[in-house]
Amino acid sequence: MIVMNQNSNSSLAEGGVLEAPKRTLFQENWSLFRKNRLAMAGLVIFVIFFIIAVGGFFLTYGRNPAFDPALVRLQEKLRPPLSKPNLETLRPEELPRLGIYLFGTDDLGRDVFSRMLQGAWVSLTVGFVAVGIAVVIGVFLGAIAGYYGSSRVRLGHLLTSVLLGWGVIDLLTVFVTVLRGRGGIDIFLGRIAVDTFMVLIGAGIPTFLIRMGNSKGRRPIPTGLSVLFLNLFSVDVLITGLIDIMLCFPSFFLILTVVALLPPSIYTIMAVIGLTSWMGSARFIRAEFLSLREQDFVTAAKALGVSDWRIIFRHMVPNAMAPVLVSATIGIATAILTEAGLSFLGFGVPPPNATWGNILSSGKDFLFDAPWLTFVPGFAVLVVVLAFNLFGEGLREVLNPKLKERH
């Protein structure tokens, strides 16, 4: 009876009645991932950290927060962890919300637990936003380099970007100067005219190139303008060159320099870390694209009339994201570490905002009197960075088919 059933099923296989147990790619990867205990531990810590950071933001934010990280109680300074507050010297609103100083207090009597909560949010946002910026830039440039790699950059293209870029930036500068009231619009008329001219020429060149490119040599190109068609180098050379140049700088010192020049704020830190760490994802995406470009499904999508941008960002990028996802996870850990390092050196998020780095930094002066001031933030950084790295490693093993068989 059973045998007969099997036979009737297999004869229908082509018709699609016999079905393998259906599992999505996510379910398959998840079951693999769950077998990796260290990676699971990383994920659990990551989730806890995420909840604490988001909760910490709401608990420490606003005019009258539940946990005030900036509340100074000079009479309660350098209290050890778990110590009870002195009820006689404090006003009721100055009492810690938990009833005890969970992580002690610092040299100004501020509650370290509240400051850690605020710092967790800073670390989380810096990590995610910086890596977000890096991934967006990296994916974009890597995709362009991989997909259009062999196309040539023409002199016209280069002229366009220089003219357009210069014109627009100079116009903006003039605009800002006038808006700030540092001079009337009349002194700048000449400059505005030159800038507008540059923008118009800059915008005109690509239109010309496209029109001439479409006609495919049926119309003769006017002499003199043919110099715009001079091939300089390929798109790939341009972008990989940019990547190599960026990689030449020791990134921490590049960040230090940039941060020293810009006004200190959490947003500057995010932007600077993001702008200096996109090279890895760009390389991964480029490498993936070089092989994906030759795949049949890309040709098939082209044959369906799908546009290039859609092919790149809808069809190819999702197929190329696996290594980027892994490097981004580890990149978040690196970004958190970089932010802590910058804050420790005093270049990071300015006081009074607390971050793990500057709690650590101010704690080092009391290393022997109040070791919890360095231990608590230091341990937090260690655990979070380790968790992200373990999680990233676990992802790598799941997403890389060559490593799948090891467990």
Binding site: V17, S150, L304
Partner: protein
Amino acid sequence: MLPKDDLLLSVEDLKVFFHSDGKVARAVDGVSYEVREGETVCLVGESGCGKTVSVLAILGLIPRPPGEINEGKIFFKGKNLLELDEEGLQGIRGKEISMIFQEPMTSLNPVFTIGDQIEEAITTHDAVEKDETGRRTIDLLADVGIASPEQRMSDYPHNLSGGQRQRVMIAMALACKPDLVIADEPTTALDVTIQDQILHLFRELKEKRHMALLYITHNLGVVAEIADRIHVMYAGIFAEVGTVDQIFRNPCHPYTMGLLASLPSRARKGQTLYSIPGAVPDPAYKPQGCPFHPRCTYVQESCRVEFPEMCDFGNHHFARCPIIYRQKKGN
């Protein structure tokens, strides 16, 4: 020539060259053919003789560089496709001419469900409502013979067998009701029973939708099943052109004869299977004169020097072999 009024596609003297390391590979070296409405035209030939390149050129899918269309015109409904820009071509691809590829295993995007991919094929060209797209997707899947299409829509390509994937590819190609479907060896990667099912599906769909089919294969058995007219291709040129009957009953080019002789058949059971001696020439180093002459059993002195003309054997049956022509007409 046949009447022109129902002409859909006409390729005139197409030449596609590939440049690499200073060499020029003449992959397609001057072919002309026509496809009429509702007709099935087959391009037959060995691997590497330029079949695929000659149809990729129609949709502007030749990678440039290294490829380059040197000469020729491709008229589709009176428009020269070679003069269209990328945007114009995108409007044609998938909408009026669509293509099915050889490898169903790799022609679908592994990260999207088949429903998503068919819906994309529809929405790329037709602005339709969301539920309308869903309905059309289910209809298409049912049309290509996929059982329980509603459930299948949410399947990923890796859930499907090779034959089912090829059916999905066909559904995608048919999504916008094209007038011409180009099928590039759609059954080569499938096993024989599935191959037969897919061929039946093609015939059925062609009748139902009145579309033309340009079918590329190296399998003469397949050709006999579905073709109206056959173009036998060798080294970038057409060796012989004719109907199924003309080609199979009265082959007039030594290459066609060789191909037919190398078909396994029951009648010659036990004998060694015939094979044409030699191999297809490297498209960068084609022999002078007739490109087939080093492998030809009818070769004469003139074949080594002169490029043969297309000879008219009557009833739109052409072959590029003056030697056979003289023999047949002499009789």
